[in-house]
């Protein structure tokens, strides 16, 4: 009974609509509380979308690690000298 009441609070969005919201949600850009709630509700009962979301998170994390670069010491020295001249 409780779960039915809980379920009634959410609009049952389909998979396409959920995937439309994927990146905005994962990137912390979905702001409307109802959209967040509907998205999370869909994820809670759609195994396929939950699985995709899980993979998207993993890929985002791998991208963050792979795309990041450390500035070379030579560049840091060059910028420091530039700053000293300001």
């Amino acid at each position: 009974m409780n779960s039915k009441t809980e379920s009634d609070k959410h609009e049952d969005i389909g998979c396409l609509q959920a995937i439309e919201a994927f990146y905005a949600y994962l990137d912390g850009e979905l702001e409307d509380p109802k959209s967040i709630s509907d998205f999370e509700h869909h994820m809670s009962h759609c195994r396929s979308c939950f699985s995709r979301s899980d993979v998207e998170k993993l890929l985002t994390e791998r991208m963050r690690q792979s795309a990041s670069s450390e500035a070379p010491q030579e560049l840091r020295g060059r910028i420091r000298r530039l700053m000293d001249e300001l």
């Binding site: 396409l16 439309e20 990146y23 990137d27 890929l59 791998r62 991208m63 963050r64 450390e70 070379p72």
Partner: protein
């Protein structure tokens, strides 16, 4: 401390904090370490000359990335050493259904149910190669948001486009990125079609 000294301290501290992110973005845009270093140095110099245009100090990151991007477009884009890029799709507020309809069925079957294991095993080099194949507009948005942690609002300011365009580029860019990874894996015999549990297309 005079106002000028205060601005200089603020500028130096923020440049230092953003240095890795600026270099990383410059490297993915320009393609070589030498050009990336020149691009960062030139951008820092231009930024200091234009410091009075920074109206809100809390917007330093999008402001400096915008200068870096403009500097790249003006002076480095033409000579950038780039792998062959994927065709540039038009920006638009098209829905996911349109986007998916453009993809081959074999990819969609895999995309609808990708194996987590596959992404666990994808090497960092393969991800970088896939990012570098993206058309510049998509690559820049993904690098700034997923690589450097800018918000959509900040990325829109940095790239000089509306936020809706950033949203659209993220959706398309991420799909193109996965397709490039899938093609790499397929060509290496590592990924075949997934199961038939597909999303509605």
């Amino acid at each position: 401390m005079t106002e000028q000294e205060d601005i200089k301290v603020f500028f130096s501290r923020n440049i230092e904090e953003a240095m890795d992110a600026l270099y990383g973005t410059a490297l993915r845009l320009a393609g070589t370490g030498a050009d990336a270093e020149d691009l960062v140095a030139e951008s820092v110099s231009k930024a200091w000359s234009a410091i009075e245009t920074l109206q809100d100090r809390s917007r330093f990151r999008p402001w400096i990335f915008r200068i870096l991007h403009n500097c790249f477009v003006s002076n480095y884009r033409r000579k950038a050493v780039r792998p062959t890029e994927l065709p540039y799709p038009e920006d638009g507020d098209d829905g996911l259904a349109t986007l998916l309809n453009e993809q081959p069925d074999e990819f969609l079957i895999w995309w609808a149910n990708p194996e987590r294991e596959f992404f666990n095993n994808v090497l960092g080099d393969a991800i970088v190669a896939a990012i570098e194949q993206l058309p510049e507009a998509f690559r820049a948005a993904i690098l700034l948001i997923n690589g450097e942690g800018l918000t959509y609002d900040e990325a829109a300011e940095a790239l000089g486009v509306p936020q809706g365009t950033i949203r659209s580029r993220m959706k398309r860019g991420r799909t193109m990125l996965q397709k490039a990874l899938w093609e790499q894996a397929r060509d290496a015999g590592l990924a075949g079609p997934g199961d038939t549990n597909r999303h509605d297309k």
